[in-house]
């Protein structure tokens, strides 16, 4: 018998510290698989965020340089401008990307910075204990929206990817999820496509991934997966938001 599925070689052997059922783990693996398949291990540089994935360098067996909270896109810009022929990606949570990092995200896209952002949208601040995120949906309870998010007091959630799609410098933006095997496959393809477009110099690419945070959603992992389908995707519809590459079908 042949091993048909195992740990990608661009991930270290270290077990993940993430909670049971956490989407970060799945996404890490997918990125690892893409790095392996595209043979990028020696030419990719990752920028982890402040967020649950802050320790990502303990898992990825690639060069990684830490960004402070929200500034990954700026740090990645610095990398890319010095090393234009390397592949540079940021890995960011929704708080990191769409709250404190809003300006950096939008301007990296506007500049058409030739980097890829993996935007993990789990609708809460995981690392700090489940506070409201800019992507927390209306009605959702968090530790800082204890009565459920209401537009009058906490304001509406923000669809950052849709905004980034307006930026003329962004070339490919897709929203996927990692709650089912089919969605996981699509996510992997999207990541691969984003890296490929970066190699071809298309400018800013982004994959937004709806991802479970069972701990702070206070749901078990299986229920969390369902919740993504049943609730979250109606606020954050899956699909390609922008594709300048001319090969829309190829995405999946």
């Amino acid at each position: 018998m042949k091993k048909v599925f195992g740990r990608p070689k661009s991930l270290k052997a270290t077990p993940f510290h993430y909670c049971p059922g956490c989407g970060h783990s799945i996404i890490h693996r997918l990125i690892g698989e893409v790095i392996d398949e595209m043979n990028l291990q020696e030419k990719i540089i990752g920028v982890p965020p402040a967020g649950c994935a802050v320790l990502a360098y303990n898992y990825f067996d690639i060069d990684m340089g830490e960004a402070s909270h929200g500034r990954a896109a700026a740090v990645a810009t610095g990398f890319k401008r010095v090393l234009p022929d390397r592949i540079v990606f940021t890995y960011q949570g929704d708080g990191d990307m769409a709250a404190i990092g809003t300006a950096e995200s939008i301007h990296a896209a506007a500049r058409g910075e030739n980097i890829t952002t993996i935007f993990v949208n789990n609708g809460v601040y995981g690392m700090t204990g489940g506070q409201m995120a800019p992507t927390t949906i209306l009605g959702q309870n968090t530790t800082t929206s204890p009565r459920g998010r209401k537009e009058k007091t906490e304001g509406f959630p923000i669809n950052l990817s849709e905004m980034l799609a307006i930026a003329r410098g962004s070339s490919y933006i897709e929203r996927t999820a990692v709650n089912t095997p089919a969605n996981i496959l699509k996510t992997k393809k999207a990541i691969a496509k984003a890296f490929r477009l970066q190699m071809q110099g298309y400018g800013f690419t982004l994959v937004e991934i709806l991802s479970a945070c069972p701990t702070n959603w206070k749901m078990d992992p299986v229920k969390s997966s369902k919740w993504i389908d049943e609730v979250m995707t109606s606020h954050f519809p899956l699909g390609v938001l922008k594709d300048n590459s001319g090969d829309k079908k190829d995405a999946h």
Partner: protein, 178 residues
């Protein structure tokens, strides 16, 4: 008198609550108390713990480097804290989950089979309060009467039944250790 106790277990085992209840009881009995829960990243994926100091004098540090008591709810807690307990100190073990035993010979050990015990309760839960009962019995840090008052203050706001089941849990543990 200055007594340090560490409560440790998985995130969901209610160790912070144990600390809170003990510290509140100590406060009601007129003692100085501090209660320091572990926090942040320390919690995720590992053990949660909570340190309570009960003292007749001002408390300098809420950290228990060498606690007199350790209440350990799972195996990783045993591994982490067994060497920190003071020589001659006392360890309360959740023997339903912890198979190992401390290798040190200078500790007093009480085993409390929480999983078995809670089966005697109506709701099959409240293992932490059972353990707390056992703990106050042997430590004598606070009286069961005070602790029952604290349980009442803490829980009857929501639902009197919750208080009652907690009281039963406490007494179950209190009476289990002879």
């Amino acid at each position: 008198m200055l007594i340090k106790t560490i409560f440790s277990g998985f995130g969901g085992q209610g160790v912070i609550m144990m600390g809170y209840l003990l510290a509140t009881a100590g406060m009601i009995e007129g003692k100085n108390v501090t209660c320091l829960p572990s926090y942040g990243a320390e919690v995720r994926g590992g053990t949660a713990n909570c340190t309570v100091v009960v003292s007749s004098e001002e408390i300098a540090s809420p950290v228990a480097s060498e606690p007199e008591y350790a209440v350990l709810m799972n195996n990783p807690s045993l591994i982490r804290f067994q060497n920190q307990v003071q020589s001659g100190g006392t360890v309360f073990l959740n023997s339903s989950l912890i198979e190992d035993r401390p290798i040190r010979g200078d500790l007093v050990i009480y085993e409390v089979p929480l999983n078995d015990l809670i089966k005697q309760l109506s709701e099959n839960r409240g293992a932490n309060v059972v353990m707390l009962g056992a703990f106050i019995k042997k430590s004598g840090l606070v009286t069961p009467e005070t602790m029952i008052r604290v349980l009442k203050d803490t829980f009857s706001g929501k639902n009197p039944a919750v208080f009652k089941s907690n009281r039963s849990a406490l007494m179950l543990g209190y009476e289990y250790l002879k």
